[in-house]
């Protein structure tokens, strides 16, 4: 299994040590950007891109041989389909009134139903109706989709180049 294989062994010890330290921090920051999408700049697409960059960092630093124990490609593919179906299901949730009707907004406390005072305020996490749930569905879809693309292209490029 020689040849000019793309990144079979990964990079040096310094890069691997720093990756192990920084990987969790990038994951936490990405989930923070997804979760607070209805309060601060960000949302599903932006936070999903941040988490996907953490997966790409893992792939580059550890190589294709070392990342097999950490990332499972079939699990990522299934999660991407779950994210797409969840977004479509949330769009159909308010079909009694209209397509994409916000079912849980302004229902008075409970599950994402708190009202928001008008004008500048400090941000209410429990508000928004279906918008935070859609943020999670789209974030899951984007991060697992980009991770799948990067893994398949790196492993496939090695095989296609040496044929």
């Amino acid at each position: 299994m020689g040849g000019c294989g793309m990144n079979q062994d990964g990079m040096s010890v310094i890069v691997r040590t720093v990756t192990r330290f920084v990987y969790g921090l990038i994951l936490v920051f990405g989930f923070y950007v997804i979760m607070h999408g209805h309060l601060t700049p960000g949302g599903g697409f932006q936070g999903g891109a941040v988490v996907a960059s953490a997966f790409a960092l893992l792939l580059v630093a550890l190589g294709t041989a070392g990342v097999k124990g950490h990332l499972n490609k079939h699990l990522l593919q299934s999660l991407e389909e779950v994210g797409a179906l969840a977004f479509l299901g949330l769009a159909f949730a308010g079909i009694g009134t209209a397509f994409f009707y916000n079912l849980l907004a302004n229902t008075g406390g409970g599950f994402f139903g708190v009202g928001v005072p008008a004008g500048p305020n400090a941000g209410v996490l429990n508000a928004g109706g279906l918008v935070p749930l859609m943020n999670w569905a789209v974030g899951l879809k984007v991060m697992t989709g980009i991770a799948c693309i990067v893994i398949v292209m790196l492993v496939g490029a090695r095989k296609e180049g040496t044929e």
């Binding site: 209805h38 479509l88 994409f100 302004n106 209410v124 928004g128 279906l130 918008v131 789209v138 879809k141």
Partner: protein, 96 residues
């Protein structure tokens, strides 16, 4: 000869783009803003979010986000289908 013709066409397109960029409205004066003023004024009352851009993306203009999710899903499925392992007797682009 072909390179000279290509250069002339490229210069023509460059001149057209720069002329179009200098004949727009001045930077910072949008033309029609009635719909966006409605979004800014009513997003906190109807959707109960603080981020008006997220309200526009996921609630007021949710159809565009549905189309974008479809495009992303199609792209991921296409890349996964292109890099599938092939059997030994199916050559890549061989005799049908």
């Amino acid at each position: 000869m072909r390179k000279a013709l290509l250069l002339v066409c490229f210069l023509f397109v460059t001149a057209f783009l720069l002329l179009a960029a200098t004949s727009t409205r001045p930077f910072g004066t949008p033309n029609e803003a009635a719909m966006d003023d409605y979004f800014i004024a009513n997003a906190q009352g109807e959707i109960a979010v603080n981020n008006v851009v997220t309200a526009v993306v996921f609630d007021y203009r949710g159809f565009d986000t549905l189309g974008e999710a479809t495009v992303l899903f199609t792209a991921v499925i296409s890349v996964l289908a292109l890099f599938r392992k092939r059997r030994e007797d199916e050559q890549w682009g061989g005799a049908a």
